[in-house]
Amino acid sequence: MERIYEVYDRIADHFAATRATPWPEVTSFLANRGPVACAVDVGCGNGRHSELLAERAGQVVGVDASGELLVVARADAVEAGYGGIFAPIRGDAGTLPLADAVADLGLYVATLHHLRPRARRRGSLDEFARVLGPDGLGLVSVWSVTHDRFDAAEGFDTIVPWTLPDGEQVPRFYHIYDPAEFSADISASACRAIDRFESSGNCYAVVRGA
């Protein structure tokens, strides 16, 4: 199977065209936050949440493993008028290429579930905490077994294909979390959970860094 970023490089244009709207959970997390100096979007993809960050941060750092998605994110940032403060960085969520405590505000949304194995997922939460630092505030989300399309009580590894307009299916690795397991991974990491909730088939944690 291809690496997950190779998959997103291939499907970038089609993915971006269908993933433009911010998630309501992210919008409400960010409401009344800021202004801050720096926000980091880990797994920023095509930048669907970057504009929300740009409205409240002096600089937005978008990290993604897919170079093609970053090119889309940058073009959208320029078009929307925040290209000057948007910095696209190609990097791995498992070992972030950023200094300690640089982010006052962070998102790590719909990305953690693409990493494997579990030790790497937990390590990536440590990395998110490191970049947030003790004062930074972040939102983490993963796909959950509570979503309608799954029929399982416990977390599991699976392949969820992306279907391109020509019908070609491109397999993507996911670890679908159960809520207790997500809580356990957050607790085992350097992230300090302030709030946890489930919404629309995803598990969320609001965290402070370390």
Partner: protein, 61 residues
Amino acid sequence: MKKSLLDILRDPLDKAELDLEVDERDGDEIVEGRLIGTETGEVYPIEDGIPNLLPPDMRDE
């Protein structure tokens, strides 16, 4: 990328600072060049303005 980004970018391998070598600029944007780990010596390319700081075992070339 802008040079000021060096303040927050780090070598993914050991989180040490990075040195910058520029091949091509467009105003204050560095379009082509490389970042080099000050401790590891690892070379990370800047491609079309986007630094590629994937760890070496995840890069495709």
